[in-house]
Assembly symmetry: C2
Homo-oligomer: 353 residues x 2
């Protein structure tokens, strides 16, 4: 098969981790007789620096024309901590999500047996955790009307959801639950928010269509607690944009393997695959960043975007092997073992595929 993949490396360590994912993907393609064309495009702070906007039209066209997008990370300290900055890398991310119609962010949290002791949680709390968040990504308070009134003394943000926005996200949740343990948790704040009541009402209506799925409804504050107490009691969770932002990040650290968690954003057009970690600016250019989350995002891409399960499994298997044999970057290296460079990990994966 032939694929055209848009390559959005972004800022900070983005280009370094993307590089390793490209190496591994190319090796897989060779092994399984596929042909990949990579089309690089600018996004984030580097796009602002080059052309003045964080998600240029040209980048958007490249993404729309591609079979998938592989994304690194964006963000740069020079744009942080300045509440009055008018152009920010994050705007590029939000614009990209909106223009590509990426309404569902798929965020798994799972454990690697060899890394379980890295978790801040006790072993018995985290063992067996294997959950997936579906975070709504193009609605809610991120995209509602916002602004100032009263000479700037009052600020407001509006959270809006339509029933159809909730439905299309929840549909993916029910479908995913059907392929797993048939348990779905709808996370909201229906005791306070009208948008949450719409979420709950809509999901309740949809229950009829999926009689095999057991749905629970939990408040976002309760989920924030139970994620730390009994993460392995969850399976598939669906939630709105802002709650998803907070809870998926919380979930990502409990496994002790944040540097390994991949993600996908899917929707109306091309799907996008990216590691969940940030651009880690302090490490830029040092060849020390952990590339595995990006490599595992490429595996998700092979499986979900191209339907190539065997290729995806081959990547996951070699990643597991590297972890077991301690071929890892400094974030995962134990005190008395060698820390490998980003590029060395990638080379090892390619050599051992």
């Amino acid at each position: 098969m032939k694929f055209n993949i848009a390559l959005l490396a972004g800022d900070g360590i983005g280009p370094e981790v993307i590089n390793e994912a490209v190496k591994v993907s190319d090796a897989i393609a060779k092994k399984f007789n596929h042909e990949i064309t990579w089309t690089p495009a600018l996004t984030g702070a580097c796009a602002i620096d080059a052309v003045g906007v964080p998600y240029p039209d040209e980048t958007h066209e490249i993404c729309m024309a591609a079979d998938a997008v592989l994304f690194g990370a964006i963000g740069h300290p020079k744009y942080d901590n300045d509440p009055k900055a008018t152009v920010r890398p994050e705007q590029g991310l939000l614009l990209m999500r909106k223009k590509l119609g990426l309404f569902a962010n798929v965020r798994p949290t799972f454990t690697f047996p060899s890394l379980i002791d890295n978790s801040p949680l006790k072993r018995e709390r985290i063992e067996g955790t294997d959950l997936i968040f579906l975070r709504e990504l193009t609605g809610g308070i991120y995209f509602g009307e916002k602004g100032r009134k009263d000479d700037g003394e009052t600020a407001y943000d509006t959270c809006t959801y339509t029933r159809s926005e909730v439905k299309r996200l929840a549909k993916k949740g029910f479908e995913l639950a059907m392929t797993r343990s048939k348990k779905l948790c709808c996370v909201d704040k229906a005791n306070v928010l009208e948008t949450s009541r719409l979420w709950r009402e809509t999901v309740q209506e949809m229950e009829k269509e999926y009689p095999e799925v057991t749905v629970s409804y939990e408040f976002v504050d309760a989920v924030a607690m139970r994620l730390v107490q009994w993460p392995n009691s969850y399976d598939v969770l669906i939630t709105e944009n802002l709650f998803g932002d907070i809870l998926t990040d919380e979930a990502s650290v409990i496994s002790g393997s944040m540097g390994l968690m991949p993600s996908a954003s899917v929707g109306e057009h091309t799907s996008l695959y990216e590691p969940i970690h940030g651009s880690y600016p302090q490490a830029t250019g040092l060849d020390i960043a952990n590339p595995l989350a990006t490599v595992l995002s490429a595996a998700m891409m092979f499986e979900d975007a191209f339907g190539l399960k065997e290729e995806a499994e081959a990547i996951r298997t070699v990643v597991n092997k590297s972890l077991e044999q301690g071929i890892v970057t400094e974030d995962l290296a134990s005190k008395d073992s060698k820390a490998y460079k980003t590029s060395e990990v990638g080379d090892w994966l390619v050599a051992n595929l």
Copy 2:
């Protein structure tokens, strides 16, 4: 001294835990020669059942006339999971916060040496944790305009903040930081929300007035992570209403002592003291609920509302003693030790003051 305390026991286990806090408070009053008058009032589901509204005017008048309010817990399953219910116990809570002007919710999270192994986190992660959240409690998306449009197909909630609302909350944060380690963390989502940008801008302006305080600005998703990874790196945190709801609950479980965490809500009129746990309906009437969070809330009341530090310390000391000697309810009892009843714990505290 003479005090008039409004007693809002609420629903579920509320009356049981309140009962023990009253016993302990009366014993302290006797010992230190104070006189307490308790004025009970209805709130929550029991108020709906009795008079049709969850925060009756009469209750409000009793609170306004009191020197402090001691609150149990509210909420009953018969009002849950029904997105169309028109009267809910939680509305009483929100109305009470608004009418009493309780704009700052003070939520400490600390550890008890004897309970550290109850934490879901590893000992080295949680040891030494002693942080306080100041959550804004009468603004934001909780109280903004909300409703439906398009025949109910679209729902919206509005988050609004004014500079003066941010200022009065932040002022308490700076003042609290001055009495502690002079570190203040402002939690927001300034990369997305206009209200967060107002928060950040306002706090940045206030920094000049407190040159000794070191302020950090962190995004809510990052804090949700770091709370699990390095909770002991935080000291005083300030944040808006919804973020505070989620993060304070997350913080409450990391210590392993959720059943022990007290809280205060302070503002324009009478201050209110309450345990952070819920109404735990399944345990109602069984005399098994842990009363210590309510007892420790009474200690906060003696210290902060009445300025009686010695009295507060006496309560904390006896609570510590009960924990060390294993005079605890079933949630804290170890496998082979006896679980005491709610009332037995209260009796023991009174006898050992």
